[in-house]
């Protein structure tokens, strides 16, 4: 990677928004180029100067109380005068309950399931691949070119299917890094929508598809014959499901 491209991508790199291959190339360039390394350090210093917690404004202590009161006033019609005292008691108790509920909810929310974390990673990787214009390392619609490209880069051989007849053209493959391991990313195209199919070996039993939506992207995951599959795209769910069905059919036909 040259200096010009490094300058274009270095902010994305420092913000953790760049895909693996570009990140590696930037890192290699920074080792060799003193000027770029200095720019890198400059931006990083600026980031830490602004990210310094001393610059954050903390809300005044009474603001939370004020908001709770405002929301409650908004949600309830004017109370009967005789009920006011009673209402305060209820409000006090429910306030305690709310605090307890938030406490529990926060504890539960921070414990995300591994699947959710993975889904986040998958979607981020999809977004990154689109953003840095780095969808493929091996741009080819020929599965006999794409599949061998992964030899020597991965410790497994991902199944690569040709679905162009069915309207999902193969655009190529990419090396990516998900869940602390290198994985194969196969890129398909449907109309103007890009589809990323992530594949890696999994020792879990075969599972049927599970669908979710993350940051507006449809995500479908399943595992089969010792491989885990994750599909992510902004394509509508029905067509994405069709894509998954086709992939599974093709795999079965070969067995």
């Amino acid at each position: 990677m040259g200096c010009q491209q490094t300058h274009n991508l270095i902010h994305g790199y420092l913000d953790g928004e760049l895909d693996l291959m570009n990140s590696l190339e930037i890192e290699a360039h920074l080792k060799d180029c003193r000027a770029c390394a200095q720019t890198y350090k400059g931006i990083r210093d600026l980031q830490s100067a602004v990210g310094n917690s001393a610059l954050r404004f903390d809300p005044p202590a009474n603001l939370e109380r004020r908001l709770r009161a405002a929301v409650r006033t908004e949600s309830t019609p004017d109370p009967q005068p005789s009920m006011i005292r009673w209402r305060w008691l209820v409000a006090g108790i429910s306030l305690l309950a709310v605090v307890a509920v938030i406490w529990i909810a926060a504890a539960m929310l921070t414990r995300e399931s591994p699947g959710d974390v993975l889904a986040q990673e998958i979607v981020s990787s999809h977004v990154r691949s689109l953003m840095a214009d780095h969808l493929t390392d091996v741009p080819s619609s020929d599965r006999h070119t794409v599949k061998p490209w992964f030899d020597g880069k991965l410790d497994f051989s991902p199944p690569v299917k040709d679905l162009s007849q069915q309207g999902f053209s193969l655009n190529g493959g990419r090396l990516d890094y998900i869940g602390n391991r290198p994985v194969a990313a196969l890129v398909y195209q449907r109309g103007r929508h890009s589809i990323n199919l992530f594949v890696w070996p999994s020792n879990k039993a075969a599972t049927s598809e599970r669908m979710s939506v993350s940051q507006g992207y449809n995500v479908i995951r399943w595992s089969n014959a010792g491989m885990a599959y994750w599909v992510v795209s902004d394509l509508n769910l029905a067509e994405l499901q069709q894509f998954v069905e086709l992939l599974k059919e093709q795999s079965q036909a070969r067995m």
Partner: protein, 183 residues
Amino acid sequence: MSDKSKVVKFEEIALPHLGAAYNLARWLVHNEPDAEDIVQEAYLRAFKFFKGYYGGDSRTWLLTIVRNTCYTWLQRNRLLRLTDPLDDKLDEPGMEVPDPEMLLMQRLDSEIVRHALQELPVDFREVVVLREMEGLSYKEIANVVDIPIGTVMSRLKRGRARLHALLASRMGKEAGVGLSTNA
């Protein structure tokens, strides 16, 4: 949903983001009482439209409302100074000039940084605050500010370059040649 359970559910979802909401408002409008009023107005708005919230990222949802409330307030008070779109298109050589002075940044007094950040035009300031202080991803910033991801990237790049120029001039020293052109 009964009124009461709606309140509880709303508070569960919205109150954990009070710190981020207040920080953003405070950075966009520059003073404490107005920031408090704006946060309250934004929370009431959020509560009113709570039915339109179907799950998903609650922080982005709430910060979008806070940010829009800030902009309405700035507009109403004739304080909204957006960067000239023409100026916005100028490519800033910015960070591309290697500049040993950047190395001093780490030791900068946070008061100097605070003042420089306050001087940054609001459309740059908001992306810098959301990224560096709240740690939002480009995608989340794009949602809050309602701009494409590519624009998030270029605003951050340009915002940082401007910030650097402001800091350099505040330190009473010459900024790099490329930086001073857009200061």
